[in-house]
């Protein structure tokens, strides 16, 4: 048998491949992986057997995830409030962190939640904006309060982005990233298009390209690393949508250097946010 990406001794891929994730101690994981794009709660169109905190945390722990930062489905789309999400995180303080879900159709909730932001610490990491689903373009006035809040505090904001989408495609995202230079933009799904990601990367410095749904797509990670550079790519899964091992496997099996794999899975986030959060 030819030496494969998995059985080359001394590589990160080999360490993940051979590790017995169910019997090894968590602190011996080859890398502390940061999943920067998760959700929680049931979904209208998908059956999730494991979408609440206890089951999710079990999966996260056994796949070596140090932190999952998520926005709750029902805070994005329903009447579940961000304060309740904070309480969920507080039950799993060693793993769970959250983004304040911003719903442009609930201006009063935005105002209330931003006022509560400091009380969400230490579990809150930033804001989440899902313009493609809420069908309000990211440059709309309805996000202004939230964006100004993030700019003032230099917070990360995770955006769902998709190439060609009028609400969070390349053009409105480029405008917004330039308008708020002190905000750290997490470009969720990297527009699902490496060409669009490159265009934004070339024009901005405050942007990091997030990978949900991309690892596993043949050649995608290689293209992104080549075009935007491994220092600007961060890992995410939409958990509980996608399996952590599947997404990590997509990074580890890509034809990129071990250094790039490390940047993506943990290095970049530790550089941005540190290790103690």
């Amino acid at each position: 048998m030819v030496t494969s990406v998995w059985n080359k001794p001394g590589t990160i891929a080999n360490a993940f491949w051979e590790r017995g994730w169910d019997f090894e101690a968590p602190e011996t994981a080859p890398l502390p992986v940061y999943d920067m794009h998760g959700h929680m709660g049931s979904h209208n169109a998908i059956y999730f057997a494991r979408c609440d905190a206890p089951e999710m945390v079990k999966h996260l722990k056994r796949s070596g995830i140090r932190r999952l930062v998520f926005s709750h489905h029902h805070a994005l789309w329903g009447e579940f409030r961000n304060a309740q999400v904070r309480d969920i995180c507080s039950q799993f303080p060693d793993v769970l962190r959250f983004y304040v879900a911003i719903n442009p159709h609930r201006p009063q909730y935005i105002e209330e939640d931003l006022k509560l932001y400091d009380s969400f610490k230490p579990y809150v990491v930033g804001l989440k904006i899902l313009a493609g689903y809420h069908k309000v373009v990211v440059t709309d006035k309805r996000y202004e309060k939230a964006m100004e809040f993030a700019a003032e505090r230099k917070l990360p904001v995770l955006f769902h982005t998709w190439n060609g989408c009028p609400f969070n495609g390349l053009d409105p995202m480029t405008q917004l990233c330039k308008r708020y230079p002190t905000v750290t933009f997490f470009i969720g799904h990297s527009f699902s298009n490496w060409q669009a990601a490159k265009k934004l990367a070339d024009q901005t410095e405050n942007t990091y390209f997030e990978l949900t749904s991309l690892p596993g797509q043949y050649g995608m990670i290689e293209h992104l690393v080549q075009e935007v550079g491994s220092k600007r790519i961060i890992f995410g899964t939409d958990m509980p949508w996608f399996d952590e091992f599947q997404h990590i496997g997509g990074i580890l099996s890509a034809e990129i250097s071990d250094e790039a794999k490390k940047d993506i899975l943990c290095g970049n986030i530790e550089r941005l946010l540190g290790k103690d959060w």
Partner: protein
Amino acid sequence: MTSETLEQKRAARKEWLSKLEFFDAFCSLYIDNNSEEFESAIASPEKLLAEMDRNGVSRAVVYHGNTGMVGAAYANNELAEGIKAYSDRLTGVWSILPEQCHELPDVEHIFVAMKENNIGALTLYPTWHRWIPNKLTIGRLMEAVAARKVPVYLPLGNGEGSWKWVYDFMKEFPTATTIVATLGLWGSDRNLRPLLENYPNLHAEMSQYWVPEGITDMAKIYGADRLLYGSGMPKMGFGSTMLSIVNLQLPEGDIEKIASGNIKRLLAWN
């Protein structure tokens, strides 16, 4: 747990992994000229085999990635020619059409032709090729196919089937040995579980089933015999699903079935 036990566990896992074989049950060859993503497609068997080697995949079932556009007869021939030199690692899939137009070998000859050409399974593109798969169009063929347990791939997406299409096909041919493929990235349990429950010869390949612990859950309910490792190349790559399969919370024997055992069993008719 003593450290010795831990060492033993590590050694046992390493040993097991070194013997674990991956046989990709759903992979394609040749460029789909109608896809925007064609630049990443695998255009030659040599390139495909190199990528399999890089990922540690020993064998693959391959269909012609441009069957939709070039048609079944052309694609079937080109695929058979392309994989001829690699029959130890690549097994082909032929696409079928209504019997009445006699565009492909008829039911008396098709199985011999498949054997001669290293073709282990069938598939169909009724949307692309404009026909209706039912007893009127492929009744005689499907009766023989089901009796011989020849696996039939039912592909979703790529301009082809919908879940409704798969449900209709299974209602028409309930005993057929089938493999539902390209499930779509939005978790498909609501569509897949009723099929697994009702049709014991239906299987699914996992290239786009990414629900956390979902393969483990389905294998526990319907049996590990029903699920297959598939890469979905070249839309998807080989490696990502491999890492989730070696970490399923199932007995090693079940993981071996999903990684390679099941597809070998399904191809054994030939």
